[in-house]
């Protein structure tokens, strides 16, 4: 792929990207969220068209207008979210769309024969007659790979394949991938797990901010080198050099050994413990999808873990009697959700209605069931003033505010009742630079007045600028915790890339 350019509106997803992959190798594509690697691979697989640039497959220029072109060229993709019909058998899933005959029993026989050969050759063991719904995650992934191979894929793209696998399943996957490499399949591995790249890949390309920052053979680089490239050189935004060291006060919130598995049985929270103290900002870093969202939800009362406890202000919560969002607000915990449009606001509501979302039953707004509209409107105006939400129209529907202003509105609302604990996810996503400074200032002000802030952000800059200590989450567990003074880029990068705390500190 040469000089690939792709923009989505204002987002420059791919800038002059060159990617060369040798046949029969495992090539890693590494980067944080938003680095542009998914976009690049989607262009290769035909989901998007590049704005400019060209693609060559095995030396021939290739036009990939849709996924069928890609399949015809021998490119197969295994997505993060499986594309399977759960009520069908594994065999039927592989066959769908490429059935060799209109008569199913005959088609199945033919497909079975080919698949069994394929399974023998590659070691991808899947029970073909089982219903997909009964298959564990690792088997489903093998099935997806089989699907691609069945259609003659010589180039296989895997998007974050180990995100849902147990360590054992990861090992099995690696064995499979090595076997495939020996058979001559070219494998493109999109991941942020640096250890895995070092263990498996032959060459690696690191992307950051839409551009390629490193492209080398594995032998010529190291874990540190990759971490540095992935995370980059970060400027500590607005961190005063002589900031008084923070003395954190009493523990306001303590979570112990939280565990939660999702519907597929994948552990999203694995033994997470943390404590929030008054007067500190705790940053949670790590690539998205490693449990940060689930952690926020659990602490806000939106998700009930299967094990673990939560203690707030002397009240203890267990999985059978977990926190609820309204109780959380009573305990002065505020929550700015990551998905502000689906959760933080009711988009068709006017601003003054969304401004009390979560607080609508407070006596301030609710008098014997009747909504006190003048108070609601007045408070909304105040909030909009404080956080500079534009346009200053309290009757405007939330959907008609820009993303940044929507975010400011949500923040304004959550900060308004002066909470003691503020849980906030991606606070400045989509917000303009000036407003970012302002919001950071507000978060610091909350900390200085004795509150605690739990900040989840995929922007490492932001975490480094604000946090007093940093937790890094990986695969549902806290990979490490570092006070801000010890947060070097290398250390954080390694933790985010999957190393454990001992290795990171070294």
């Amino acid at each position: 792929m040469r000089a690939i350019e792709k923009r989505f509106g204002a987002v420059h997803a791919n800038q002059a990207v060159d990617l060369t992959v040798a046949a029969g190798t495992v090539h890693g594509i590494v980067g944080e969220n938003g680095a542009g690697k998914s976009t690049l691979m989607s262009i290769l697989y035909g989901f998007y068209q590049a704005d400019s640039g060209r693609v060559e497959i095995e030396g021939q220029p290739a036009r990939i207008a849709n996924s069928h072109d890609a399949i015809a060229l021998g490119i197969g993709m295994v997505h993060q979210h499986f594309m399977l019909v759960e009520t069908f058998s594994a065999l039927d899933n592989v066959m769908l769309g490429a059935e060799p005959s209109w008569f199913l029993p005959a088609a199945r026989a033919q497909v079975r024969a080919r698949l069994e050969t394929l399974i023998r050759d590659t070691g991808l063991a899947v029970d073909l007659d089982k219903t997909v719904g009964d298959l564990p995650v690792g088997a489903r992934q093998r099935l997806e790979i089989l699907k691609a191979l069945y259609r003659g894929a010589r180039i296989l793209i895997l998007d974050e394949p180990t995100a849902v696998l147990t360590p054992r399943e990861t090992e099995q996957l690696f064995i499979t991938l090595r076997t495939l490499r020996e058979r001559g399949t070219t494998i493109l591995l999109i991941t942020h797990k640096l250890k895995e790249i070092m263990a498996l890949a032959d060459a690696v390309t690191v992307m950051r901010g839409g551009a390629v920052v490193l492209d080398s053979a594995i032998a010529d680089t190291s874990l540190d080198g990759l971490a540095q490239a992935m995370v980059g050189r970060h400027v500590h935004l607005g961190r005063a050099a002589d900031a008084t060291p923070v003395h954190a006060g009493a523990v306001l919130l303590r979570a112990s050994r939280l565990q939660w598995r999702d519907a597929l049985g994948v552990p999203r929270l694995a033994d997470v413990s943390l404590a929030l103290r008054a007067g500190e900002i705790v940053g949670v870093a790590g690539v998205s999808g490693n449990g940060q969202s689930e952690l926020l939800d659990a602490l806000a009362g939106l998700l009930v873990p299967q094990a673990g406890t939560l203690e707030i202000d002397g009240v203890c919560f267990t999985p059978t009697h977990w926190l609820r969002p309204d109780r959380a607000r009573d305990l002065r915990i505020a929550h700015v959700p990551e998905d502000r449009q689906r959760r933080g606001l009711v988009l068709p509501f006017a601003a003054w209605e969304s401004a009390v979302l979560g607080y609508q039953q407070r006596p301030r707004y609710d008098r014997l069931g009747w909504l006190r509209q003048p108070v609601m409107r007045g408070d909304t105006a105040t909030m909009m003033e404080r956080y500079d939400v534009r346009p200053r129209d309290i009757t405007l529907r939330c959907a008609n505010f820009s993303g940044g202003n929507q975010q400011k509105l949500v923040l304004a609302r959550e900060a308004f009742p002066q909470p003691r604990v503020l849980l906030v996810g991606q606070p400045t996503r989509g917000v303009d630079i000036g407003a970012i400074e302002f919001i950071h200032g507000r978060l610091r002000a909350l900390r200085d007045s004795g509150g605690a802030v739990l900040l989840v952000s995929s922007e490492l800059d932001e975490i480094l600028a604000l946090a007093d200590r940093v937790l890094v989450m990986d695969r549902g567990r806290i990979a490490g915790e570092l006070p801000i003074e010890q947060c070097s880029v290398a250390a954080l990068g390694r933790l985010m890339g999957g190393a454990d705390a001992a290795q990171a500190a070294a």
Binding site: P337, R343, L345, G358, Y365, L371, G403
Partner: protein, 374 residues
């Protein structure tokens, strides 16, 4: 594939329904022409029949009353994100409740006590009949559209069973109860107007029309001015945000359905206590489905529903007149128009929207905002 388009509020709430209404009328006109009727003549006679006399107007309002109740019922459920097709059955149950109360206590209680009790009984019966499918949806995931349709049939069977086996007057062939005592009869408009010394023709129009207006105002107040209404609308618009806000979607679903059922049940008051003064089998006669049309055209807003109910009341009354005046015309034309309105205002609503948006843009020479979703 049509893209979701963001129309300015007033276009969305007023012009789009009118456009859809116009399309439905246009197709009806085509049908009329094809069977040899003159659409203009039909329209003129219809308006005359509906509004041209005090009796006609009264009938129009009497029909409209029933439609306001069923329309509000559909709208309330819709605001919570649910499609309540069970208005027929809930109305039947409402009538049953009112009727049982009347048959039980008409001789022993005075009107000022009995009538409110009948209203209450009707609402309780309707509430229960709707809350059950609501609970099944909320807790067992049973699709509310299917269960409410089933409950319509079950209600009909139950009502007929009770009428034939339990409530029927011995010796009477038709399945209906005996006439209620005077205390159980809602005063008709002619009676009420007579209290202040004026004269009014004797029609089915009765006190329920005031109940309907009160219900419309009440629903407006509840949905937009109270905290329970806020919670209900939040669940309907954004279930995730509602959960975030500590609102429990399941409880809201059941509450919305209960309110919806209670509103539909008031049809029983209009028909049973206000007009027929006895319990009978087919007093709902499709009003539940008309309620769907009313709610769609009225954009699920009480004001729109009142206006749409007037429209449909006029259609029903005018249609009845037309059946007398014009050879070969029957009320079924009104049912056809009703179905066409549901077609254009409901299913095809979004088909017209992009066209409308383009015309608006062209007129204003300004691009429309794309809704900032996702």
């Amino acid at each position: 594939m049509s893209q979701p388009v963001e129309l300015p509020r007033w276009l969305d709430l007023v012009v789009l329904p009118m456009v859809n209404l116009a399309m439905a009328f246009a197709v009806s006109a085509v049908v009329l022409v094809s069977i040899g009727q003159d659409p203009v003549q039909v329209l003129v006679l219809l308006v005359k029949g509906a509004f041209g006399s005090r009796a006609g107007l009264s009938y129009t309002l009497y029909y409209a009353t029933t439609f306001v109740f069923t329309g509000l019922a559909v709208a309330v459920a819709f605001h919570a994100g649910l499609f309540n097709i069970g208005g027929e059955g809930q109305a039947m149950m409402g009538g049953l409740g009112a009727g049982l109360m009347a048959l039980g206590f008409a001789q022993t209680l005075p009107a000022w006590l009995l009538l409110p009790l009948m209203v209450l009984a009707a609402m309780v019966f309707g509430m229960a009949w709707a809350a059950l499918p609501g609970a099944l949806q909320a807790w067992r995931g049973s699709h509310i559209v299917i269960t409410t349709i089933m409950f319509n049939f079950i209600a009909s069977a139950l009502l007929i069973y009770l009428l034939v086996n339990v409530i029927k007057e011995p010796g009477n062939m038709t399945p209906e109860s005996r006439a209620f005592g005077a205390a159980a009869q809602l005063p008709g408009m002619h009676t009420m107007v007579g209290w202040i010394g004026l004269d009014w023709p004797r029609t089915p129009l009765n006190f329920s029309v005031l109940l309907a207006l009160a219900a419309a105002v009440g629903v407006y107040g509840l949905l937009w001015r109270t905290q329970p209404g806020y919670a209900l609308r939040a669940v309907g618009h954004a279930p995730d945000a509602a959960h975030y806000a500590g609102i429990r979607p399941r409880a809201q679903i059941v509450r919305a359905m209960a309110l919806s059922g209670a509103l539909a049940a008031l049809v029983g008051i209009n028909e049973i206590a206000g007009v027929h003064h006895r319990l009978m089998a087919d007093f709902v006669a499709g009003a539940g489905f008309t309620g769907i049309a009313v709610s769609l055209i009225g954009r699920n807003h009480p004001l729109g529903i009142v206006l749409a109910s007037l429209l449909f009341g006029a259609l029903y009354q005018g249609g009845a007149e037309l059946a007398f005046e014009i050879q070969g015309f029957s009320r079924d034309m009104v049912f056809t128009l009703q179905g066409l309105i549901v077609l254009f205002a409901g299913a095809m609503a979004q088909v017209a929207a992009p066209g409308l948006a383009r015309i608006y843009q062209w007129l204003r020479k300004a691009p429309l905002a794309q809704a900032s979703h996702g």
